[in-house]
Point group: C2
Chain length 199, copies 2
DNA sequence: TATTTTAATGACTATTTGGTCATAAAAAGG
DNA sequence: CCTTTTTATGACCAAATAGTCATTAAAATA
């Protein structure tokens, strides 16, 4: 009796079209009509799968961060400070392709920072990352690898901010790769010295 | 014969109104009409002083960075590590009003990150800040306040990235003020321990 | 194939808003 | 106080675009 469509498949198709349109036109010139056309459907159809442009944007960003969340969930807990520092280094060593997407991200979603919902989506991701670090730091304090006069909750979230800052500056201001790796080593050294338990 | 008005004074007044409106409404909801109203003038009058909304935005961002550069130039060199850390704390302790402007900045100028020239303008500012820190760190190494196995040039620029990261996360993800100050203290402690010369 | 239910369509609406312009007001000097 | 020049005003216009809805198409099943 009823016509049946794979909703998720359709949303995926639309999100792919959105990506193409965003890259080609810039985010704020990407009208719902253009995105629909790129997906090969009518505007009304698009609204059957996303209630609003904001909903579409949020779904887009969600998918963008999904990969990183998956990566995060795969990470095991570090048992030593060195291992912990290595974890951080791994998360900072994004490849050059990924770095090039950072300015595009701001170009595309800069205007979205006006939306509370949008900011919350991103904030949730960083909070999750912060909690991951916090738990690990708490464990490392128990293991007596890290000195105990710091708050794991606070320093975990701070670490995320600092790491993000380093990554953003790399992506936005395109320092040389070699230079970036120097900076990584220096900052990781600083992190390690800052966290180290002294006897 | 002619009625005469101080153009610069008027532009300043309008830019102040724009700032207020941007913070209150966000950039995209700040219509020229609202800005004019905030400035206590008619919309048509506003267009006598800025040819377009874009012209207004550019004037606005120019003024924003000019202030920060002035602030930077006024800073003296720290003689001790504690003084240096205090410097950093001062630069991180932006007031809540300023923090509220951060999302507005990305909202308004996010799309500009597609422009190489725009990124360079901002990069120059951060480089200037990085050099300031580098020079101070070099001096502190001479003063034997900081251990000598780090590169002042590199760590100066890294510090700027990390500081910027902390500030951005505060502004964008609006943590509680008290929480932010805790984070500041924790991260400054980490910086200090990381930089400290050990005997 | 007829029936039923869901999906697709795109012209249309409602609203928003950057920018204009004819008119009015203000100031300065003769 | 009249004239001239500059400045101020806000109703108005045109364009853009998010979102709607009556109508049509498609698919699944009996």
């Amino acid at each position: 009796m009823p016509k049946i469509v794979d909703k998720k498949q359709m949303q995926k198709k639309i999100l792919n079209a959105a990506m193409k349109t965003f890259i080609k036109e810039g985010f704020h010139n990407s009208t719902m009509a253009k995105i629909a056309k790129e997906a090969g459907i009518a505007k009304g159809t698009l609204y059957l799968y996303f209630d609003s442009k904001e909903a579409l944007s949020i779904a887009f960003v969600d998918r963008y961060f999904a990969k990183m969340k998956t990566w995060l969930n795969q990470q095991g807990e570090a048992k030593t400070l060195d291992e912990f520092i290595f974890h951080i280094k791994t998360s900072l060593l994004i490849d050059e392709e990924e770095a090039k997407f950072i300015p595009v991200f701001f170009e595309a979603f800069g205007p979205s920072f006006g939306s509370e919902a949008f900011r919350k989506t991103i904030a949730d991701y960083f909070d999750k990352m912060g909690n991951f670090y916090s738990q690990n730091i708490a464990q490392l304090i128990i293991n007596k690898e890290i000195h105990s006069d710091i708050s794991p909750q606070t320093i975990g979230r701070v670490l995320v901010s600092m790491i993000d800052g380093i990554m953003l500056h790399y992506g936005l201001f395109s320092q040389e790769r070699e230079n970036y790796e120097n900076m990584l080593n220096e900052s990781l050294h600083l992190f390690k010295q800052g966290l180290l338990k002294r006897d």
